[in-house]
């Protein structure tokens, strides 16, 4: 049933686009194999002596890196991971010792991996064409030419629609390049961020109907629209952000694909309150984000359920604050990529890949507290020592589809590669139960 649906949709997409766009389909070259010769100085696998966890290198290409932390990186069967190297798209199987594969030679300037079909969508820098390639067969199709400065950054749950942002009017290529979270390997400097923020370039948030190749603007704004992410479950629900310095923007928003329901997810109330690095929970309704009250003082992983309106805040200790977090698909554990002493947390011992187990109050929720934000804390478990990491390259942590590993990019050996560390989620959870103190006791006044 699932496979059948998958193939039907793939066919629909391909057929519709061929018909609508009237362009000759461009089939890709046979899948190439990359040479692993450049990665000899980097171990294939080792056991981290500080954590006892096994780390395995997944990629072979120097300066290879995973996708941005909040983008899907896995094929629907959970067997392969899509990543970037040399501005090109690569694929590697997560299990075994299969060689990496070059899927699309670059330069490309945006990438989306389907959650339903084994398709990678991307735009080419050369012609701004929007392409789809089947990861298994290598069949590639140009879907359409995108408008100038348009980027496609997300695909909806049933793979009928893509979405992205574009800058209207004339924009230098450097602005486009600088502000593309997919392409930039290092975060923007504060000055770059502020300059782009204050430019207030006219932008559009648009959807692209993959069946008809129709582009529809659903929001126009001079806010810097960025990080558009479809709900992984609800095909008409989008999250996007007002990009900029975190203390200057009410950042996280949701909107329906018909342009209705444009809603701020978190309204800041402190002058230097910071909200950012949002991502969808696998349930498709919950949005998680980094919350600091204020910036650099207290740290939370916060959530908002768009359906129920319920909010949650997990406290995180300063040293465990992470540039990015992700949630396991079942929501039971979280991962984080730590930070160096330069980050907002000014962590003294923060350079770790972390696994977090949530600790919440065990007593049932008092009905009179329905409207209050629920609280808990995240217990850290070090997975990988990143003391040699230069955080100019973001680790972009994410769980493997089976939750058994945490995948991250690291330059601890010089050039960056993508690694996986065994996360032992089950074992950790068992330990956590033992140590959980809950919150049922009345604290002393």
């Amino acid at each position: 049933m699932c496979q059948k649906l998958k193939s039907i949709i793939t066919k629909c997409v391909v057929m519709a686009l061929m018909g609508c766009c009237g362009q000759a389909s461009t089939w890709a070259q046979p899948v190439q194999q990359s040479s692993p010769s450049n990665s000899l100085n980097t171990p294939v696998t080792w056991v981290d002596s500080d954590t006892g966890k096994r780390v395995t290198r997944l990629t072979d290409e120097p300066n290879s890196r995973s996708l941005y932390f909040n983008q899907n990186a896995f094929t629907p069967d959970g067997k392969e991971m899509v990543y970037l190297a040399n501005n090109s798209i690569y694929v590697v199987a997560l299990a075994g010792t299969n060689p990496t594969r070059l899927l699309v030679p670059g330069p490309i300037n945006s990438i989306v991996v389907g959650r339903k079909t084994p398709t990678v969508y991307f735009t080419k820098t050369d012609d701004n064409g929007f392409y789809a390639i089947n990861v298994n067969t290598g069949q590639m199709l140009k879907l359409l030419d995108l408008p100038l400065h348009a980027r496609v950054t997300t695909l909806n749950a049933d793979e009928t629609m893509a979405a992205g942002t574009l800058i209207e009017g004339e924009v230098s290529a450097s602005v486009q390049q600088d502000t593309d979270p997919v392409l930039r390997s290092a975060p923007l400097t504060e000055d770059q961020m502020d300059a782009r923020f204050t430019a207030r370039l006219p932008m559009a948030l648009y959807t692209l109907d993959l069946r008809t190749a129709t582009i529809k603007t659903i929001l126009r704004s001079t806010d810097w629209l960025d990080e558009v992410m479809f709900s992984p479950k609800d095909p008409t629900l989008l999250m996007y952000c007002h990009q900029g310095p975190w203390t200057k923007v009410d950042r996280i928003w949701t909107i329906r694909t018909d342009g209705t329901g444009n809603e701020l997810v978190h309204k800041r109330t402190l002058s230097r309150e910071a909200v950012g690095n949002a991502f969808w929970d696998n349930d498709g309704n919950t949005i998680w984000y980094d919350l600091q009250l204020p910036l650099g003082e207290t740290f939370y992983l916060a959530s908002y359920n768009v359906k129920t309106g319920q909010r949650m805040r997990y406290s995180i200790a300063r040293d465990n604050w992470s540039i990015h977090y992700n949630a396991a698909a079942d929501g039971s554990v979280f991962c984080g990529d730590g930070s160096d002493s330069v980050g907002p947390a000014v962590a003294l011992d923060g350079k770790w890949v972390e696994l977090f187990t949530p600790k919440t109050r065990i007593e049932p929720l008092d009905p009179s507290k329905q409207n209050l934000i629920q609280t808990g804390s995240l217990n850290p478990w070090h997975l990988v020592n990143l003391s040699k990491q230069k955080y100019t390259v973001e680790p972009n942590v994410r769980f493997s589809p089976d939750h058994k590993q945490v995948i991250f990019t690291s330059n601890m050996f010089g050039p960056s590669y993508v690694y996986a560390v065994d996360a032992d989620v089950v074992a950790t959870q068992a330990t956590q139960v033992k140590y959980s103190v809950g919150g049922g006791k009345l604290p002393n006044l």
């Binding site: 204050t198 310095p245 203390t247 200057k248 800041r268 109330t269 402190l270 002058s271 230097r272 309150e273 009250l293 204020p294 910036l295 003082e297 207290t298 805040r313 406290s315 109050r361 929720l365 507290k369 209050l372 934000i373 629920q374 609280t375 804390s377 919150g439 009345l442 604290p443 002393n444 006044l445």
Partner: protein
């Protein structure tokens, strides 16, 4: 600059401590101590020392055993800041901050009082007595001012010293049996919970000190407590909804005519707590302990009742204090720390603290209307409280000249009121 010799209080204290050398406690000059007539034999020679850990001089202010300062948010100073009012047992005493003489003012039992800032008088009530009395600090003369409703207690006097405010319950508060198996802290929590749940009808009232007229400001079945007049605005009252902090939206203001009843801090997080509120000397700003959630992240927060501006100063766990107070110009704050059984569960929190606030630079180029200003408290230890029994609340406050932090402590065994100098002690005290 550390010692301003022109300051009369400092001169007096220097005279008193002139015999002191080194770090060991030594007796203060005996002639400065007035032995209270009702407590013969219960006084000790007062001592002073330089705290080895902080370098600040600590001075024992009160000689009577079982002496203690007023609750931290009550005004303790009268006669324009020359005299400090305190309790010895249930009796009211006064200490002359210039001459350092201590003497009894009102023989106990006294169960509620309000100290006038300007006029040297103390308004007070006795248990099971509806009379409101005033005691003159100069001569100890006591006059009945008014008869108040049954069960009334008072806590505050307004800025122009025309009104006293307090609360009364309209019925007796139900008594609930105590489970003998519970720990003391649990007993307290259980009792507070039961008192909150009883929704005993209460009245927040003012009494006119000239006409003895009692006026209802607010009628409520919330548990009203900690009524505090603005020190500058004679018609502005702050009060609280008492109860376990995570179950109440606690801090409110109201006008004496019953209008503008207004919540100061609406909680948004489960287990968020706001409490131990006190007025800034400016008479418009309210400061309070804010924890989001309880026991996890600690702030001293403020709300300006005129401009509605808010400010949150964040602090580290170890700096959290049961009570805070601010110096008159808000340039410094003090705190009395806490032990590891208290909400912060601090492992190194038993200190009298001096806090220097710093504000974060607000983001530029964006509208900040309505945003809470943020900053942080830098803590400096003033006095080591390792030997203090935190079951006795230190109730820190600044002296009227902001040069001393005054607190109650058991560091010497019995309970006395102490002061610690805000400025570091010089190695060779001036005037020697």
């Amino acid at each position: 600059m550390q010692y301003r010799l022109a300051c009369s209080l400092q001169v007096a204290l220097l005279c008193l401590v002139s015999a002191m050398v080194g770090l060991t406690p030594v007796a203060l000059s005996a002639q400065a101590v007035t032995t209270p007539t009702t407590h013969v034999g219960n006084t000790v020679p007062r001592v002073s020392w330089i705290d080895e850990d902080t370098g600040h001089r600590v001075i024992q202010l009160t000689p009577e055993k079982d002496s203690r300062g007023l609750y931290f948010n009550e005004n303790a100073f009268t006669d324009g800041g020359k005299m400090m009012v305190y309790f010895v047992g249930q009796s009211v005493y006064v200490l002359n901050l210039e001459s350092h003489r201590a003497r009894p003012l009102v023989p106990g039992p006294v169960d509620s009082l309000a100290v006038a800032r300007k006029t040297p008088v103390v308004y007070f009530m006795r248990p099971r007595d509806t009379g409101l009395y005033v005691a003159k600090v100069d001569n100890g003369q006591i006059v009945k001012v008014a008869d108040l409703p049954p069960r009334a207690t008072i806590s505050t006097l307004n800025a122009d010293e025309t009104l006293v405010a307090g609360t009364y319950t309209e019925i007796d508060v139900p008594q609930h049996p105590v489970d003998p198996n519970l720990k003391a802290s649990s007993v307290r929590a259980t009792q507070m919970d039961a008192r909150l749940a009883d929704h005993v009808p209460m009245v927040l009232f003012t009494v006119n000190l000239k006409t003895a007229e009692v006026k209802t400001v607010l009628h409520s079945t919330d548990w009203l407590n900690h009524v505090q007049f603005s020190p500058k605005d004679p018609t502005l009252l702050m009060y609280c909804h008492e109860g376990l902090w995570w179950k109440v939206d606690r801090i409110w203001t109201i006008r004496t005519d019953g209008t503008q009843n207004q919540l100061i801090h609406a909680r948004t997080v489960d287990n968020e707590v706001a409490g131990h509120e006190f007025w800034d000397a400016d008479g418009v700003t309210i400061w309070y302990d804010l924890q989001i959630p309880h026991g996890a992240n600690f702030y001293v927060a403020s709300y300006n009742t005129t401009t509605r501006e808010r400010r949150w100063y964040h602090m580290d766990r170890d700096a959290w204090s049961i009570h805070y107070n601010s110096a008159a110009d808000d340039s410094i704050f003090c705190g009395d720390g806490g032990d590891r059984t208290q909400v912060a569960k601090s492992k190194n929190g038993q200190w009298i603290e001096l806090f220097t606030p710093s504000l974060d630079p607000p983001p530029t180029g964006v509208d900040q209307t309505g945003m809470v200003e943020t900053g942080a408290f830098q803590a400096e230890h003033l006095a080591n409280m390792a030997k203090h029994n935190y079951k006795i609340e230190p109730n820190v406050r600044f002296s009227p000249d902001n040069k001393l932090v005054i607190f109650t402590s058991t560091v010497l065994g019995d309970t006395y009121v102490f002061a610690v100098e805000v400025a570091k002690a010089s190695k060779q005290p001036s005037g020697q």
